[in-house]
Point group: C2
Chain length 403, copies 2
């Protein structure tokens, strides 16, 4: 019997009753003879409540102090879950990120895990403890508390599963698995039994919001077997694995959308050979994630660049661009757009899928403002107010709701 | 200009507006050129809310997990205070107990500070930071989060002032200083300009609830100059210093009371030579604080022992005694009592003060159940329902309300 890592999100531990339900799930696995390492997020809306407190003080609180504040959320939930398991007669111990040896970069707000020192966790497992680790957090140089960014508990779970050589990493959530599209937006969205890492990666990146993309990347890289399942009902969930081990490969597996998109346009930039490298390196140095990128050179010494970022990075991005270019380029931003994408591992061998997507959208009277493609996805920026309409049209036209 | 340590209790940082007021007090001191180290407690009732969550899960949550839970309270308030000072344009950094180098014993719930590794704090002060330290918490062996017990933020502040060789340690609270008795219980209670460490120690031990006794002990031991003052109004407060530097020495300086008293009686204990040492060592090993002790040997091979403890230790105490003695002694407890005390550095040279106290209480129809005395105090256990009446009678008879 090996190690099982289980991750429970905020809605799964939203109150004391939910925590007791989660403790029962863990106790069942423990009773079957497995060693359990459990990663939990903050309770329900707790993180948002803490953010709200911070924003009563400052529109732009320092990310170091924000990490100090937000990491208390998980510290509360791990201690309560440990108490609950103890009350049920099980051995359990909670560990913060630094206690669990989760080491990260020296970045606040969105640090990456650089190493996990597993000594303490293995010691506790040897003492027959259920080890409950605070998700979303780590430590830099044994001294500074860092966070992995929102949704970072998934990343914690997968990184722990890899470091501990766990048999499986189960991501418990408030939905029953991965769907062909967001079931809140489209009624006949269908649960998938299995998806490939690559499909999941695109789905997660594209707003299917079930799994954090970094966690899927890491799972793929380390060959960690992932299962997304419900903490509310006992159903099998969706397995995420290598494409070659899957029974069916669909041309289009799912439709994803992302409302959290701001398009930045930089017009009349001087066309030096390193202009793009320079621009995006500057943004990367500020830890700003850029998603879609489109460029055009309409005069030989000037170029235009459009790219998309997360809404939360608008302020930082505009500040960086202002400092960098001042009067040398015109910068504008538009946050009335959303990204709609189709994803499917079989797309690579089926030409014309992108064309079909554009046709479906134009038939629905939806203007496409930007396009990017990869082997297994096509993404379009469309007006935010038409995004859900676009998702429904694509889901219907590609017949994803059918058995 | 030297280092000033300031400590703000929960009511001083109960909400964002209060935190802003506290930040202004700190900024004023900083603007005068001092280096500031600030210790804060959890916001308002936050600790009680966390305790309530724990008690929804277990009547007796493990003290290790309780420490994990409760220490989040101060971590929230330090980060918010740091953000507030930063928003006002000041350099500020928050540090948890472990980051601030506050090392403790390996005990949960009521650890003592064993050492403060001041390296990090001095480094931050050198960078012109206001250093904001989470009170009430520390770390054992760089690994386990511990707490100093309720009221422990005072202890943190004094220990820091001693370790940093601060000029002064200012304890900000919701009252204007130390009073002749509790102003909530007695209308004409008078604020004292100065009291001696010893008087304060007795007053604090005896329920005057302004300062935690351990902090006064430490301040006396290390010669830290303490000031108790209000975070709401800008008045001088009460200085706590060596008796020899005080202008006036009163026979009776104040009247204190403590409602948090449980009397334990152990009857028919076998009178071995090490019986008392054995009993109280066992209690000490469980970190149970015993206050008053009275013994009598009514037969030569049997003794009775009465002692008082804090209400919160009833469960632990009865468990220890049950395990220790089983059928060999009769154990009973009574939590309907309160302790009323008179304190004064001048008492030592004035005979008959205890006799006067007993007369005042008996004239008021109040039965005395237990008495202990020291050089500068006399304490009596009286019925809890008559405690405030006793305080008023003593305060009047010793003329403490007069100018």
């Amino acid at each position: 019997m090996g190690i099982i890592v289980k991750k429970f999100g905020g809605s799964s531990v939203a109150n004391v009753d939910r925590i007791k339900a989660v403790a029962k799930i863990i106790a069942n696995t423990k009773d079957q003879g497995h060693q359990c390492v459990v990663v939990v997020s903050a309770m329900g809306d707790h993180t948002d409540e803490l953010l709200d407190l911070a924003h009563q003080i400052s529109a732009n609180p320092s990310s170091r102090e924000l990490d100090m504040l937000l990491t208390t959320g998980e510290q509360v939930s791990i201690s309560l879950l440990a108490m609950t398991l103890q009350e049920m007669g099980h051995r359990a111990i909670s560990l913060t990120g630094w206690q669990a040896g989760i080491e990260t970069e020296d970045v606040h707000g969105k640090a990456r895990i650089t190493n996990i020192n597993t000594e303490r966790i293995f010691k506790e497992l040897d003492h027959d403890q259920v080890v409950i680790v605070a998700g979303f957090q780590g430590v830099f140089a044994n001294q500074e508390i860092t966070t992995l960014g929102r949704g970072g508990s998934d990343t914690s779970a997968v990184a722990l599963a890899a470091a501990l050589h766990a048999d499986i990493c189960e991501i418990y959530t408030d939905v029953e698995g991965v769907y062909t599209t967001d079931p809140r937006a489209v009624k006949n969205a269908k649960k998938l039994d299995e998806v490939s890492y690559d499909e999941m990666l695109e789905l997660a990146n594209l707003g299917a919001v079930v799994l954090h993309p970094r966690s899927v990347e890491n799972a793929k890289h380390h060959g960690v077997k992932l299962v997304v399942r419900s903490s509310f009902v006992d159903t099998p969930g969706t397995e995420i694995k290598e494409e070659k081990s899957m029974e069916n490969v669909h041309v289009v597996t799912g439709v994803a959308y992302d409302m959290d998109v701001t398009r930045i346009q930089v017009v009349d930039l001087e066309n030096k050979i390193d202009a793009l490298a320079d621009l995006f390196t500057t943004l990367a140095n500020e830890s700003i994630n850029v998603d879609m990128i489109v460029t055009s050179d309409y005069e030989k010494d000037r170029i235009n660049v459009s790219f998309s970022i997360s809404d939360q990075d608008i302020h930082a991005t505009l500040k960086v661009l202002e400092r960098k270019f001042g009067e040398q380029a015109k910068v504008s931003h538009d946050h009335h757009l959303a990204k709609v994408s189709i994803v499917g591992a079989g797309m690579i061998s089926n030409p014309g899928v992108a064309a079909k997507m554009f046709k479906i959208l134009s038939d629905a009277g939806i203007t496409i403002h930007m396009v990017t493609t990869s082997e297994i996805k096509v993404s379009c920026l469309v007006p935010k107010i038409q995004a859900k309409e676009a998702v429904q049209a694509l889901h219907d036209a590609f017949e994803l709701g059918k058995e």
